[in-house]
C-alpha cells in the first residue's frame, strides 16, 4: 500500500505539467479578452511537431519541445487573424481550430510517417543530493527538466501579468478595451501577442505529452486534455497559481488510474478512464455552487473589439 501511495505521488507532477502549462497559456490569452477554445487542437499540433522534430533532428528532446512551441504559435496565428483582425465569433473560430488541427495533424502524421513511432524522450534529472532524501526525494526531486522549469515559468508569467506595466495593459484590454483604446493602447497588437505567446505554452504542453510522457505520437492523443485545461482556467478563475493547484489535482487524478489497478481494486477499465472528465465536471459544478463563476472573468472575454463600433 505504501509503495502504491509513493508511486502515485511521484507520478503526479509529470502528469500535472501538461495541464498546468496549457492552462497558463490559456490564461494569458483570456486575460487579454480572447476566449481560446482551441487548446485541444494546439496541443495536438505541439505533440506532433515535437515528435516530428525529434525524429528529424536526431533525437534532441529540448529542441523538439522548442519546435512544439513554435509550431503551436504559428498555427495560432491563424486563430489570431480570425478573431482579432476579422472579429470572427471566438467560439466558432476556436472550435474550427480544434477540428482543423485534428484533421491536419492526422494527415501530416500519416503522410510523414511520424505517427506511431516511439521516441526515447527526456531523461529524469535527479537533483542530487535532494533526490536522495527518503520519500520527498522521489516525489519532488526525481523528474525531468520540464517539471522543474514549470515553477519558474509560472513565476515569470505571474510576475509579467501582475507586476509589470505590460501585464497591467494586457489585463486592462481584457477588462475594458474601449477605455484601453482611448488610453492609446494598441488592442489588436496586445491581443495578437497574448494569443500567440499563450499558444506557445499550450504547444509546449502538447510536446511534453508526446515527447516526454507518451514517447510516441498517436492521432488524437490529447484525448480531451485541452478541454480539461479550458475548464481548469475557469476553475482557477483566471489566476496562474490556482491553475497550478488545479493542474496538480488533475495530474493526481490521472496518476491514480493505474495505481487503483495496481492496488488490486477491481474497477472496470473504461469507467476508470472516465474519471478525469467526471472530475472536471464535478469541479465545475462545485465552483458553481460556491457562487458566481463569471464574476472573476475578464469583462470583455469573448467579445471582439471594433473601434468603429464603439458606443
Amino acid at each position: 500500500m505504501q509503495s502504491v501511495l509513493l508511486s502515485w505521488l511521484a507520478n503526479s507532477p509529470a502528469l500535472a505539467v501538461p495541464y498546468a502549462l496549457a492552462a497558463l497559456g490559456l490564461i494569458i490569452g483570456e486575460r487579454s479578452g480572447v476566449l481560446s477554445l482551441g487548446a485541444e487542437g494546439l496541443m495536438l499540433v505541439g505533440a506532433l511537431a515535437g515528435v516530428g522534430a525529434y525524429l528529424s533532428f536526431g533525437g534532441a528532446p529540448l529542441l523538439a519541445l522548442l519546435v512544439a512551441m513554435v509550431a503551436a504559435a504559428v498555427v495560432s496565428l491563424l486563430f489570431a487573424v480570425l478573431v482579432v483582425l476579422l472579429r470572427v465569433n471566438q467560439v466558432i473560430a476556436g472550435l474550427a481550430l480544434v477540428f482543423f488541427c485534428q484533421g491536419m495533424t492526422n494527415l501530416v502524421g500519416t503522410t510523414t510517417g511520424w505517427a506511431n513511432r516511439t521516441v526515447s524522450g527526456l531523461h529524469d534529472l535527479p537533483l542530487y543530493p535532494m533526490s536522495e532524501l527518503p520519500v520527498v526525494g522521489r516525489i519532488l526531486f526525481t523528474h525531468d527538466i520540464v517539471v522543474y522549469l514549470t515553477l519558474p515559468i509560472f513565476l515569470i508569467v505571474s510576475h509579467f501579468l501582475f507586476r509589470t506595466n505590460y501585464g497591467l495593459r494586457l489585463r486592462s484590454i481584457g477588462e475594458n478595451p474601449e477605455a484601453a483604446d482611448a488610453a492609446g493602447l494598441n488592442i489588436n497588437l496586445y491581443r495578437f501577442a497574448a494569443v500567440v505567446g499563450g499558444s506557445a505554452l499550450v504547444g509546449l504542453a502538447g510536446g511534453y505529452l508526446s515527447v516526454v510522457s507518451a514517447k510516441i505520437w498517436i492521432a488524437g492523443m490529447t484525448s480531451g486534455r485541452g478541454w480539461i485545461a479550458v475548464a481548469l482556467v475557469i476553475f482557477a478563475r483566471w489566476h496562474p497559481w490556482r491553475a497550478l493547484l488545479g493542474a496538480l489535482l488533475f495530474g493526481g487524478i490521472e496518476a491514480l488510474i493505474p495505481q487503483v489497478a495496481a492496488a488490486g481494486i477491481r474497477v472496470p477499465e473504461y469507467f476508470m478512464l472516465m474519471t478525469p472528465y467526471l472530475a472536471t465536471l464535478g469541479v465545475m459544478v462545485w465552483q458553481g455552487l460556491r457562487g458566481k463563476v463569471d464574476a472573476d472573468a475578464p469583462a470583455a472575454l469573448g467579445q471582439p473589439y471594433v473601434r468603429e463600433e464603439r458606443i
Partner: protein, 372 residues
C-alpha cells in the same frame, strides 16, 4: 494579488496597426456597413466557400492525391450510381444532427455533445433490441423512442448544470462525449460484445429491428430525416415556440422581462436537440450498420455544428448543407481507401470552410476603404 503599478506611463500616440494601416499614399480605414443587399451577401459567402474548397484541394494535392483524380472522386459522388447511393444513405443522419444542433443554437445553447447523445441513442436502441422490449411489430418505434429519450436525458445534465450552477455548457457537453464513448466501449468490449466474432460490436439486430427499405435499397433514414426537417421548420417558423426562440435568440433578458418562459423554452429546445442527435445514432445503428459499432458516431458532432452554422440555424437550409457534407463524407471515404488519406481529413476541410465563411462575415459587416 494587489497591483503595484500606480499609473500607466505616458501614452503612445496614434497607436494604429490594422485599423489604420499606413501606406505612403494614405491609409486603410475600416467602416461599419449598415446593410448589404442579400444577393451580395450570398455572393460573398459563396465565394468564401469556394475559397475554402480551393484551399482544401491544394492541401490534398500536396498530400499526394493527383488533381485529376480529386475532381473525379468529387464528381462521381453525384454521377456514379453507387456513390450517389452512398451520399443519400449518409445524408439522413447528417440532416438529423445538423437540425439538432441548430435548434439548440437557436436557444443560444452550445450543444457540442451531439456525438455523446448519438452514442446514447445507439445504446438505448440496442438495449431494446438485446432485451427484446415490446412486441415485435412495435419494436422499431420503441427503439426510436428509447433512443430519443436517452439522448434527451444525456443532454439534460449539462442544461441542468448551466441553469443551476452556471456551468459552461460548451465544456460540459464536450466532456460528456468522452464519458459516453467510454461507456460505449465498456459495453462493446464487455457484456454486449458479439460472441460470434472478435470485433467490438454488438450482435446483429433482428430483421424486424432494421429500418425498412424504401426502394433503391435505401433505408428509411432519409425520409425520417426529411420528416423531422418539416416538423422543425414548422416549429421554428410558425409556432409560438418558434417565436419564443427567436425572441430568446435576439435578447434573452428582454424576452424574460416580456413574460416569455425563457427557461422552459430553452429546456425544450435543447431536449429536442439531444433527441434528434440520438435519433441520428439510432438510424445509423438500425439502418446502415444493423448493430451497435465502436465508431458509428465519429465526425458527426462537428459536422452538425458546421451544418447549423452554414445554414444559419434554418432547418430546410440545414438539409441542403447536410447533403453537400454527405458528398464530402463519401469523397473522404474513397480517398481513405485509394490514397490512404486519413478520414479526419474530412474534419479538416469542414473546419477550413467554417473559417472561410466566418471570415467572410467580416467583409459583409465592414468595408475597408483606402483614404488619401
Amino acid at each position: 494579488m494587489p497591483d503595484s503599478n500606480a499609473a500607466l506611463p505616458p501614452l503612445a500616440q496614434g497607436a494604429s496597426w490594422t485599423d489604420g494601416l499606413r501606406l505612403p499614399l494614405g491609409r486603410f480605414v475600416l467602416e461599419v456597413r449598415h446593410d448589404m443587399p442579400a444577393w451580395k451577401q450570398a455572393l460573398i459567402v459563396g465565394a468564401s466557400i469556394l475559397a475554402g474548397i480551393f484551399i482544401s484541394a491544394v492541401i490534398l494535392v500536396a498530400a499526394g492525391v493527383p488533381p485529376g483524380d480529386l475532381v473525379g472522386e468529387v464528381g462521381s459522388t453525384v454521377i456514379d450510381r453507387q456513390s450517389f447511393h452512398a451520399v443519400l444513405v449518409q445524408a439522413g443522419p447528417l440532416i438529423l444532427v445538423g437540425i439538432g444542433a441548430s435548434i439548440a443554437f437557436r436557444a443560444r445553447f452550445w450543444n457540442l455533445g451531439l456525438e455523446g447523445q448519438m452514442v446514447w441513442g445507439g445504446i438505448a436502441a440496442t438495449a431494446v433490441s438485446i432485451y427484446q422490449i415490446g412486441p415485435e411489430p412495435l419494436r422499431l418505434p420503441v427503439m426510436a423512442l428509447a433512443a430519443m429519450l436517452a439522448g434527451s436525458a444525456w443532454v439534460a445534465l449539462p442544461v441542468f448544470f448551466r441553469m443551476k450552477f452556471a456551468v459552461n455548457e460548451i465544456i460540459a457537453t464536450l466532456l460528456l462525449n468522452y464519458v459516453a464513448t467510454y461507456f460505449l466501449f465498456d459495453l462493446l468490449y464487455g457484456d454486449w460484445k458479439d460472441s460470434g466474432d472478435a470485433y467490438p460490436h454488438s450482435a446483429q439486430y433482428a430483421p424486424a429491428e432494421r429500418l425498412p427499405d424504401i426502394g433503391y435499397s435505401l433505408n428509411a433514414a432519409l425520409p425520417i430525416a426529411l420528416g423531422v426537417m418539416v416538423i422543425i421548420w414548422w416549429l421554428a417558423e410558425f409556432s409560438r415556440f418558434g417565436f419564443y426562440l427567436k425572441f430568446i435568440y435576439a435578447n434573452t433578458t428582454m424576452a424574460r422581462l416580456m413574460g416569455v418562459p425563457t427557461q422552459a423554452v430553452i429546456w425544450a429546445a435543447v431536449l429536442i436537440s439531444g433527441a434528434l442527435a440520438a435519433l441520428a445514432g439510432f438510424v445509423i445503428s438500425s439502418g446502415s450498420e444493423g448493430r451497435l459499432t465502436q465508431g458509428f458516431f465519429e465526425g458527426y458532432g462537428f459536422s452538425g455544428v458546421l451544418i447549423a452554422f452554414l445554414a444559419r440555424n434554418n432547418a430546410v437550409l440545414a438539409a441542403i448543407v447536410a447533403f453537400l457534407i454527405a458528398m464530402l463524407f463519401v469523397t473522404g471515404q474513397s480517398l481513405q481507401i485509394f490514397y490512404q488519406i486519413p478520414f479526419a481529413m474530412v474534419q479538416m476541410i469542414q473546419a477550413i470552410i467554417v473559417m472561410c465563411v466566418a471570415a467572410s462575415e467580416f467583409f459583409i459587416r465592414h468595408r475597408l476603404r483606402f483614404q488619401h
